[in-house]
Symmetry: C2
Subunit: 514 residues, 2 copies
Amino acid sequence: MAETDPTQINAALSNPRADMEALDDLERRLFSLRYAMAEIGSLGPVIDPPKATAQRGEALAHLQQMSVEALCDPATGALLDRLSQEPELVGETRLAQIKVLRRDRASLLDVPAEEQAAFSRLTVEANDVWRRAKAANDWTSFEPYVDRIVESMRRIAGYKNAEKDPYDVWLDEFEHGTDRAFYDRFFSQVKDCVVPLLADCMASRHKPTHKCVDGSFDVERQWRLADDLARLEGLDMDALWIGRTEHPFTCGMSRDFVVVTGHVYADNLLSNVFSILHEGGHALYEQNVDAAYAATSLAEGTSMGMHEAQSRFFENLVGRSEAFAAPLLAVLRKHFPGQFARVTPHLLYLAENCAEPGLVRTEADELTYPLHILVRYEIEQMLFSGEATAADVPRLWAEKYRAYLGVSVPDDTRGALQDTHWSDGSFGYFPTYALGSAFGAQLKAAMVRGGVDFEGACAAGDLAPVRAWLRDNIWHWGRAKDSGELIQAACGEPFLASYYTDYLTTKFTSLYRL
Amino acid sequence: MAETDPTQINAALSNPRADMEALDDLERRLFSLRYAMAEIGSLGPVIDPPKATAQRGEALAHLQQMSVEALCDPATGALLDRLSQEPELVGETRLAQIKVLRRDRASLLDVPAEEQAAFSRLTVEANDVWRRAKAANDWTSFEPYVDRIVESMRRIAGYKNAEKDPYDVWLDEFEHGTDRAFYDRFFSQVKDCVVPLLADCMASRHKPTHKCVDGSFDVERQWRLADDLARLEGLDMDALWIGRTEHPFTCGMSRDFVVVTGHVYADNLLSNVFSILHEGGHALYEQNVDAAYAATSLAEGTSMGMHEAQSRFFENLVGRSEAFAAPLLAVLRKHFPGQFARVTPHLLYLAENCAEPGLVRTEADELTYPLHILVRYEIEQMLFSGEATAADVPRLWAEKYRAYLGVSVPDDTRGALQDTHWSDGSFGYFPTYALGSAFGAQLKAAMVRGGVDFEGACAAGDLAPVRAWLRDNIWHWGRAKDSGELIQAACGEPFLASYYTDYLTTKFTSLYRL
């Protein structure tokens, strides 16, 4: 007897209405598990007592396992296959759900469970070693983990797609539709623009200064300022919880409940201001996904790059613009009247935009930031291609920081050990940070072409028109469209890095009077 | 062909080691779902922004559904059946897990899903109506819901056990091993003791006064006091989170993470003190379940009554004892030095123990508290037996409050509408509150017989010996033993209400110089 054809089984089982109910049920389960993981995972470390850590980890691991099992269940695969054959009945929203569910499923399914489990164990251990290595400035203790993680990620990439270069697999995983060819083009444009531009800025006799915002600022007042900044940015305060953590982050349970955290330094007010505006951009995205997508797989931002586009849009394109300096200054004056009495909008604008080549990515200004990413991208590529091993990293790091940023790396703590990403197995993630900035510049240009008075909105401190455009063109769509599709639809052209390099060139040429 | 015998199927499938792994896996799933529901459900209303409510409700409902499905799965039933036939292999802990899992399963399984769903919808609606009825002092709008809920609970009880009286089914549901015969005996002893004792107290010319603790107390200082009270009680502060809510509650995610909440009134310091000690008693129970039971169905308090025994033990037997007045006063003085400068331990003891017949259960003192419960127990019984309907409740309420407490009920808001329980469908729950106080008195007597210097520990403000006895005899066991078994094992005799009535008689005879 001939083997049974799975298509026939599916056809025989077909009951599209029951299938749609099954899809809705699957989505509700996945939603509730995601909701639980997001709330426990994001609020837990912020408010739980210290002993809670281990059991919280247990609970999270099992919730994750349930989520993976629901998605990997063969019945789920068959269900999604059957439904995708009924596009008219299923409708646009459910088709989009099916698309992202199939993609999520594929990315889990192809990797043997033991391989996945071994990788999880390896990264948990590596993260712990990294933490101590960073504190002790001891690259050699972390070094073997880097090689093992790269090796493991190469193997896992092979399971996902044996035809493709392993690093390409991971780039695509973090930002659908990207690969080395894409990023090579992008970063070469960035490098060609920013490296000489930065050198010119450094050689300029007209350097802006941040002296007017130096000083000590009461920490509790800074938290009240943070609330007002979130309001100025246009966040829905009835759907927002602002917390305090070592490292700022944003986490959305749903459009109706987004957590934003920050860290306030008494001696660095602007760091807090731009951190809140940055996380607030992420939160705006989550709060403005179409309500019709609630409790489905579509109800979150579409990708890392597009999320970073929103956060850096509000941090830099809005927050560090000359037009926005006046409304921002008004809020600063409200909370620190004495300290801002003699600051003008123009002085504040200059203070926000001092380009200073430094060692630490998270402290970088708008101009030097992409160079920090470039260094990481180039080293990741070399590790994956075998051109370098972990032992070469400190030397490569020092060479590239010298070449692109003109700084000497005095230790690995402020060098290759500064970021947690590699220890988490997130090779391929860094490039999305730079890409997001470039997405933002292109979106701004399209918005202005589309008739939004961007400068006027910033100057008035009423960002409603800016938000409305982003909501309609980006936020609203959740995961229903990929970042490439969104850019094409919103801008009427594919992604172009030139908007970003043009923006940086214009802004810093003027600031530094080049 | 003969029908297949399920026992044979089970025997054929039998692979005890694989079964034990399946049990552990089931427990981990149930644990992680419970953990998620507890954290989202308890912290959500405390810290989430207002709009989060609806989606949180969605997420909680689906998590609950997943938990019910895991337990009700026929495979789970077969698994538990097979394992219970291998007691030696399975061992004591897993046997206890199987016992409680089978019980939890049975209580879900017997009720048709539609009936259960209809009941959930009814109580959600009833709770909403109750809230408005209470605010408007409008019994008649709530009245039909009481009848419908009783009717529905009678029907559900029939599914659970058609042989048994429906109210007995619900009493057993909330406190395993209890029924009307048990509570009738208990409450008749309580009534015979407390009603005349209270009348005598009210007639006494030597009434204690709370004048020395009257005044206004800074709210933020009261929160710092709450921390110190939790420390004095012996809570593990590294496994505790204290929050602020309208109604105090305790919720344990695990022994390593317990949430306690309170509400502070500037003009009622003692209310805060005893509320914290009360919730702290619940929290001590959760924090001290055997670590070996972590992440299993055994890792929580065994019953409502036994939980209330712990909370009322620390609130009353410890907290309102003469011996504990000195260490308590020391903590009060630390935070309010001026206001407690002239208060003596004896004056504080008197202030803590003013018996005052009142209208509201949650504000009742130690002596009158069980009478509030008695009223509810008697009315619940009449509603279930058909002797009364909801329309009779306000009249019955007034008659019984007059007879037992000697007070007139001026309105339903402070009468039959005061508690949320009936609107939630928790008929049969109230009696556990009174039972808990009685458990506590018997446990204290056994502890003293066992050599614990209870008064000495209270006087020294070092409750370690008291906690050690309760940990070994009660807390430690989690749900592995029922409350009846725990009492028998800890006290060497079955439950006896006379410890409670003797304790109240001795204490209040002395306080009121009868």
